[in-house]
Structures are given as C-alpha cells and as structure tokens.
Amino acid sequence: MSDATTPSAAARAPMVLADRVSKSFGSNEVLKSISLEVKHGEVMCLVGPSGSGKSTFLRCINHLEVVNSGRLMVDGDLIGYRETGGRLYELAPKDAARQRRDIGMVFQRFNLFPHMTALENVMEAPLRVKKMAKARVEQDARALLARVGLADRADYYPAHLSGGQQQRVAIARALAMEPKLMLFDEPTSALDPELVGEVLDVMKGLAKEGMTMIVVTHEMGFAREVADSLVFMDGGVVVESGDPDEVLSNPQHRRTQAFLSKVL
C-alpha cells in the first residue's frame, strides 16, 4: 500500500527488470515481449485469465523456465546467463541454483515434501543448500513457523495439515532461505474459500515488512489492499498496468474491462 520506494531504493537497480521477454512452448507463443519493472520493496500483482502467461512469466524469473528472447534481471543479475564481452554464456547448474536461493517461490499446489514434517520441510534448504549448523537452522525454522502461526504444528506431516496450513508452511520454507524476492504462483487457488484468509494474512504481513513480492492471483481484494502495482496480462502481453485501485475501478482497455466484469 505504502510507497516503498525510498530515495535510496530508487537509486538502485530495480529488483526485477524484464526487458522484452518472450517464451514459446513449441509453436505456442506464451509470452510476447513482456517488459516490466519491480522496485525494491514493491508488491506487484499479476492478474489475467488463465493461459495468459502469468505463471510462465513468474517461472521464468527464477529460471524454472528458460526464456527464448529478451533479458530478465533480478537485483542487477542476469538470470540464467553470464554476459562477458557482449556474449551470453549459459550458467552452470550450481550457479543457476545459487541465483534461485535468493528468490523464494510459493506454488499453487504447495509442493511440500510429504515425507518430511513441517519443521523438516522448512529446515531442508538451509541445511543442505546453505550448509548451516543444525541447531541454528532449527531455531530459525521454529521461529518462521511461529511467524506463520504454526508453531504447534512443527512435527506434523503435510498430510495431517489443512491446505491453508500447508501453504503457510510452504511460505515459511521459502522464507527460510532469506530471499530478497518472493514469487507467489496463485497461492490461494487450491484452497477452500474459508482457508484463503489465513494465507493472505501471512502475505500481507510480509508485504508490510517490506518484502518484494510478485503475486499471481485472482484475489482482487488482496491486490487492491496490498499491491503497489497491478499488471493485467492477456494472451502473453501486458495489456494494462498501474496503480491497483485505478486499474480495478477504472480499467482503460476493453480486455481488462471484460475480465474484471467477470471476476469482480
């Protein structure tokens, strides 16, 4: 909600910079020359009909999908490649993995590790990827679970948790790597309606603490309340973007109007 762009943040490179990003699956062009910018501390909501390329764009940001053309930069680093002497070199898997460490991702279907308890899920990456000391990791993980309101569920397996609880564990798991950017891919779409609120509350808390977030969502209320900017995508292009209140209450483009009339 608040204007998170302090003067010092504005001087820095944007957290995410997409420059004419295109992506095709075979002959199917999913992203067509997407350009956008997310500042440090900004919360951006990506909305649009299904198949509009929102999720694909999100997955490109942490290199789960490889873009065909254009550049994606996160905090000044080119994603997936190294540029030397005007040429691009593909990154080694371990360097690509290093880039992903700083980018947290939350999935629609939670994707918790079912053979580990909530606590083990949160501890896994700091232990194996950052190779931190176990006692320290456990302490941090318990604190994170407490932060998402699940201190008493630490020793439960995902199968014993409700959808909302699983998604909150998933958020805690992503936060355990202390990311500078969080990506949310329809985090509440797989939840029963009465469980949506608890997940959105955790996300609101994160936004308030100044986390940079890109959220693919259908929750217009959340977008209006929390987002600093809103981007409407359709057919692989950015149709309209701007202040959430303005876009939602006074959409300029016909396609935006048509979409919003259905979801609002």
Binding site: N62, L64, A97, N111, P114, M116, V129, A159, A174
Partner: protein
C-alpha cells in the same frame, strides 16, 4: 452452542438429520454367500484326499524327506543360497539405483551408458550370462589395474582371485541390476513434478533433489516390486550351477539324489527350504512397506477428526459445508424451500 438447545428443532414437525436423539445402530441380517461355502467345502475335501493319497504314495518317500530336510549338507546349501540371494540383491539394488538415476540425468553421455547396460543385461538370458562369467578366466586369464599400455599397478590371476561363489554373485547381481534399474526408474518417475520444482526453486542441486526429495518418496513405489525381485532371486540362484557353482540348495539336493537315486524326496526337501525363506522375506517386505508409507494415507484420520469435532447438533448433514456450525433453529434445513426467513 449448548446441547439443551438442540432439543428445540428436533421437537418440530420435521426434525433435521442428526437431531438430538441418537439413531440406533443398524441390526440387519447379514447377506448370505452360500456358494462360497460350497466352494470351500469342495476345496477342503479335494485337499484332504490329496494329502491322504500323498502320504501313502511310495514315490514321495516321506522317510527320505524327513531324513534329509535337516541334513547338514542341505542346511549348509540353504545357507549358501541365502547368501547368494542377499549379496547379489544388495549389489543389484545399489547398482539399480545408480543406473536409474543415470538414465534420468540431463547428461546424455551418462544416459546412453545406462541405456547400453540395460540393453545388454536385459537382452540376454541370465543363464547365458552365468556361463559367460564362469568362462571369464578363459577369456581374461589375468586382470590388470592401471593405465593402459603402462605397467599395471595391480595384476592378479582371474582364477585365483574370483571363486565360483564370487562369480555367481557378480553374474546374478549384474543381471538383476538391469531389472532393478527399471523398477527404481518407474518409482522416480511416479513422484510429482512439483516436488522437483519446489526443491529446485529452493536452490537445491539436481543431485540433492534426487537424493533428498525424489528418491525417498519413490521408495513407496519401489519396495513392493523389489520384494518380488528378492523372492525371484532366491529361486534364480538355482541357476548358478551354470557358473558352475554347486553348493547352492538346488544343485546340492540334485547331487545327493544322484547318489541315492531318490530325486523326488530331495526336490521336496529343497522346496520346503525355498518356501521357508520366501515366507520370511514376505514378512520383511510387509514391515518395510509400512515404514515407507510414512506421511502418506494418514489423511483419513484427520477427516474423521474434523467431522466429529464440528458436526454437532442441528447442522444439516446434506448442507455440504460441514465446517459451518449453524446455531439451532436458525432457519430450516436447506432441503426445505420456502421456509420462514
């Protein structure tokens, strides 16, 4: 909401489902299955007749069976068979996991190597492979370890270094590894793609993802067919006579029967031992499956829990929203249209 309030809607003309008075447990007459009984009786009669007949039949020579079932040579051979099974399966499982992971790596070189291995070892009969291993010392009389075209670091005579027992294990294990690789691969592929993505997004490397996330989850799918393979291996060990290794259960009992001219009782003796081991293995498999089902299939418990926790009083069962607790008397059940608001 208190329980006293529940009596109010129940006293009305149309008490909602699950009202205040509990319904009686169902006391119905059980469905009869007369043909099952008939079939069972026929089977039992047939079996008893067979036993009675077999007990009296000369060719079985039950006194020989009793004499040899705990014969020292037989029990030692049984132990050898067990060792062959355990050693070759352990090697096969390890090698199978490695091959399966190799087949799924993004590395095309490693990939093709694993494919080639499977092609060779699945494409030829295990008996033929065992004969080949037996002939190893004729093909390669000495084994040198070192850099090619240079003086080897180690060199040893094949015959002296590898006993027929070792060769039998190598032969069985390498063949079995090809089948295990396919079982493991199917298991790995059965794990949801989202698991891969979640681990990758956390910055885990391909190997970490495999070892920590994918492999443990695939165990549930891998274990049942692996149990089958162990049992199958126990019996395949009877082929090691091709190496030739002659101290396993089957070959030993054949050798004894060649001296005593009593093949039938000794086959029965061997079968008793095979069945004994198989039974033990089946019990072990059962417990392994239980262990790796951890974290899965426990959802039912939770469901029942929430149901009993929230479905209280006058909540209509058909409302489809068991978590919403409505105060009693707050409008009629939704099945009744046009009620007072």
């Amino acid at each position: 909401m208190s329980t006293e309030n529940n009596s109010r809607p129940a006293a009305g003309a149309t008490p909602p489902a699950g009202g205040a008075t509990e319904s009686e447990p169902i006391k119905a007459i059980r469905l009869r299955h007369p043909w099952r009984i008939v079939f069972a009786v026929v089977l039992v009669i047939g079996f008893v007749l067979f036993i009675v007949d077999a007990a009296g039949r000369e060719a079985y020579k039950w006194d020989f069976v009793a004499k040899y079932v705990f014969d020292r040579r037989i029990s030692e051979a049984a132990l050898n068979t067990l060792q062959l099974t355990v050693y070759s399966m352990v090697i096969a499982i390890i090698l199978g996991v490695i091959l399966a992971v190799m087949r799924l790596t993004p590395n095309p070189v490693v990939n093709s190597l694993a494919w080639f291995y499977l092609w060779v070892f699945r494409g030829t009969p295990v008996y033929v492979q065992l004969v080949f291993w037996g002939l190893l010392s004729i093909i390669y009389s000495s084994i040198d370890i070192g850099i090619p075209f240079m003086e080897p670091w180690f060199s040893f005579e094949t015959n002296a270094a590898l006993s027929t027992f070792t060769l039998a294990i190598i032969g069985l294990a390498l063949n079995e590894a090809a089948y295990m690789a396919e079982i493991v691969r199917a298991g790995l592929l059965s794990v949801d793609k989202g698991q891969d993505e979640a681990a990758t997004a956390l910055g885990m490397t391909w190997f970490q993802t495999m070892w920590r996330v994918i492999l443990p989850q695939s165990m549930r799918v891998i274990i049942p067919p692996t149990g089958n393979e162990v049992i199958s291996m126990l019996k395949t060990t009877s082929l090691v006579t091709a190496v030739p290794y002659s101290f396993d259960l089957y070959t030993r009992s054949r050798d004894i029967s060649a001296e005593t001219f009593t093949p039938i009782p000794l086959l029965i003796v061997a079968s008793i031992w095979y069945l004994f081991f198989t039974s033990i293995l089946m019990v072990g498999q059962h417990f392994l499956e239980k262990r790796f089902a951890r974290g899965v299939g426990a959802r039912e418990d939770r469901k029942i829990d929430t149901m009993s926790g929230t479905l209280t009083g006058a909540v209509p069962l058909g409302s489809g929203q068991p978590t919403v607790v409505r105060p009693p008397g707050d409008g009629p059940p939704p099945t009744e249209p046009g009620g007072p608001r």
